[in-house]
């Protein structure tokens, strides 16, 4: 009896082991069995944009019934960047992804993407492709050019401008048109009327700084260029952030916080706290036209009071706005369905008018046309953003002399540029 039992138990054990092994291989077996193709499309979260793309994806699936599109939405752009890299690292990754321009130099130097498939557009040259695309999309293509080939289809080109809360202005007895600060200097003045303080703490800021390194660097770069400086020199070889322009720009922000007290000391860096959409600040300068659709959806109470204004200028500075940035659809070089991915991309950019309506392309209304045409291109490699942000926050939070922090930043950026195996886009 017990030997029988013994044997039975061993049988069960071996069967379990076999099942385990099947499970092991199971993943691969199942994947090969399918007849339909699955296209993986990855992008970052922006509800209005996602909502715009979903019917387009459906349209694509109807045209190609044997293809199913699996859309993955990352929580934010940095998150998408990380996920894409990790996925490529593991030998996988998306077939199609929507990435912003700052990563282009890095990705293309790693050979992660393939150029636009001319056949998909029935064209023989890239020029012909551009002619077949909507103006906004075609115009942005130059940002995705590498060695005479184009690697991306533009889905978003934008720059930041200022957003103000007209209700706050009204409450402070200000006219949001006449009294809007066109200059940073005037901002300091107006801000003091807008800010709300209780027991020594700012409970409603006049001007809120962004604490995301990427957006902060864009804003700071805008200020630098207005003063004739920049983060990196025009030939892309060294950093000039520690020029007088840099010191003045940083000092301006410092004064907002400690001299005029219109900007609160941020609670956390690398994160955004409750801000414009909760009425916690009257003015921000890190939003693009896409913000309108977002606000309407998420903060309907504040939305009626949103008004876009030009980016502030310096009294004695250049009349230019913040640098531009963009996103484009790119196809992975390790995708098994490159052609199909480009077909999907083609459909996704086919409604440029819709994109413009939700602010992914810059509207024709004031203040956008001037802002975007004067802004120039922005530098967005993550390392440089982090170095600039670190230097700025060291001054702003730890009250270290701007000259000191910017000199240190220059050294770090120079070192980074020297070690970079690829050229940062935008510089020769």
């Amino acid at each position: 009896m017990s030997t029988q039992h013994n044997f039975k138990v061993k049988l069960i054990l071996s069967l379990t082991v076999i099942m385990f092994v099947i499970c092991f291989l199971g993943g691969n077996v199942w994947v090969q069995g399918k007849e339909t193709i699955t296209l993986r499309y990855w992008r970052h979260q922006h509800k209005p944009a996602v909502e715009l793309e979903q019917p387009l994806i459906k349209k694509f699936e109807e045209q190609y019934p044997n293809i199913k599109v699996e859309m993955f939405v990352a929580t934010s752009t940095p998150d998408l960047h990380e996920k894409v890299l990790v996925a490529f690292a593991g030998g996988g990754g998306p077939d199609l992804f929507n990435m912003e321009g700052g990563k282009f130099s890095q990705y293309v130097s790693y050979g992660l993407m393939v150029p636009i498939d001319l056949d998909v557009f029935g064209a023989r040259t890239y020029q012909e492709v551009m002619e077949k695309l909507a103006t906004d999309v075609a115009a942005g293509l130059s940002g995705w050019k590498h060695e005479d080939k184009y690697y991306g289809l533009t889905t978003e080109v934008s720059c930041y401008a200022t957003a103000i809360n007209t209700q706050h202005f009204k409450e402070a007895g200000l006219d949001s048109d006449k009294d809007y600060p066109i200059t940073w200097e005037k901002l300091a003045e107006i801000g003091q009327k807008l800010v709300r303080v209780e027991r020594g703490e700012i409970i409603r800021e006049a001007y809120a700084l962004t604490t995301y390194p990427v957006t902060f660097t864009l804003v700071f770069e805008g200020m630098l260029r207005q003063l004739g400086g920049d983060v990196v020199s025009p030939d892309g070889k060294e950093s000039i952030i520690n020029s007088e322009a840099g010191v003045k720009a940083l000092q301006t922000l410092y004064d907002f916080m400690y001299e005029y007290k219109i900007t609160a000391v941020p609670s956390q860096l690398n994160l955004q706290g409750p801000g414009f959409e909760t009425g916690a600040t009257s003015i921000v300068t890190d939003v693009g036209p896409w913000y309108e659709a977002y606000l309407k959806d998420n903060a309907p109470g504040i939305y009626p009071y949103l008004q876009f204004k030009p980016f502030p200028r310096f009294e004695k500075g250049k009349d230019i706005g913040i640098p531009n940035y963009g996103y484009a659809l790119q196809v992975s070089s390790n995708s098994k369905y490159k052609r199909e991915s480009w077909e999907l991309a083609k459909i996704l950019v086919s409604t440029a008018g819709e994109r413009k309506r939700i602010g992914l392309f810059v509207p024709d209304e004031w203040p956008w046309p001037k802002e975007i045409s004067t802004g120039g291109l922005g530098i967005i490699p993550k390392e440089i953003n982090d170095i600039v942000f670190e230097a700025a926050t060291k001054t702003l939070m730890d009250k270290v002399n701007p000259r000191e922090t910017l000199n240190a930043a220059k050294k770090k950026i120079d070192k980074y540029l020297a070690e970079l195996p690829y050229k940062i886009y935008g510089y020769k």
């Binding site: 017990s2 039992h5 013994n6 138990v9 061993k10 054990l13 499970c23 092991f24 291989l25 199971g26 993943g27 691969n28 199942w30 994947v31 979260q45 699996e70 993955f72 939405v73 929580t75 934010s76 752009t77 998150d79 996920k83 990790v86 996925a87 690292a89 593991g90 030998g91 996988g92 209780e198 027991r199 703490e201 409970i203 995301y212 994160l271 955004q272 706290g273 409750p274 801000g275 414009f276 959409e277 909760t278 916690a280 977002y294 998420n298």
Partner: protein, 276 residues
Amino acid sequence: MIERALLEKIAVYLVLIILGIIFTIPVFWMFSSSFKSLENTLTVSIKWLPEKLHFENYTEIWGAEQFKTYFSNSLVVAITVTFATIFLASLTGYGLSKFDFPGRQVIFLFILSTMMVPFQVIAIPLYIIVRYFGWIDTYQGLIIPGALSGFGVFFMKQYIQTISNEFIDVARIDGCSEFGIFWRIILPLSKPALAALGILTFLGSWNNLLWPLIVIQSEGLKTLPLGLAKIMQSEYGVRYNVLMSGAVIASAPMIVAFLIFQRRITKGITLGGLKG
């Protein structure tokens, strides 16, 4: 003399109470803020209690922010990992403690050494292996690499070692199969250790952030820590009232389990501590 003793007693109680407050305030604050309206989450005058119970924070995070999905995923993963771990750990621990075969010490030391290696060391190679099996963004990928821990083996081995060999010898004489001995004698006798290990494993799996962060991509498979991180990292302003209700949901099962099983849990910890 008596007065001095009384004063001492009062002082100690005072300290205990103050410490008690310090240790519970954040938890209380989490609960309280989860019911607040957004304006009241950050105010100069501290609002200890919400002015009105905003249950909609919970409905929002459960539905619109998909915490119900994250919750069920965390549950599935944690339960599976727990059962797999206590089974495999006791299997391995039994083999290591009650049998003598060549290489036993070496194997034990090897398994022990896994406790010392930080996860960062194996993260990418592990990811590549999991990818090779086709398990990225699947339940298997999430569960199987966590199905056994060096600590679990160590824990069970130490405990099973204390089980008297007489039980085993008697069972062998009675003709019980080896696996039968394990299943019918060792396991039931190890119940306290299994429970303690089970709870600790469940805790570890429920709270795990790094591996799910690497392996999981689609919304439908995310676990609670990922859901919380997602809200924290939203590119626009963080809404703390909703975030707190998410935190409550993520911690509620652990708090409930703790209040019910706290004796077992503390016993389990001390078992691990003393026998180490």
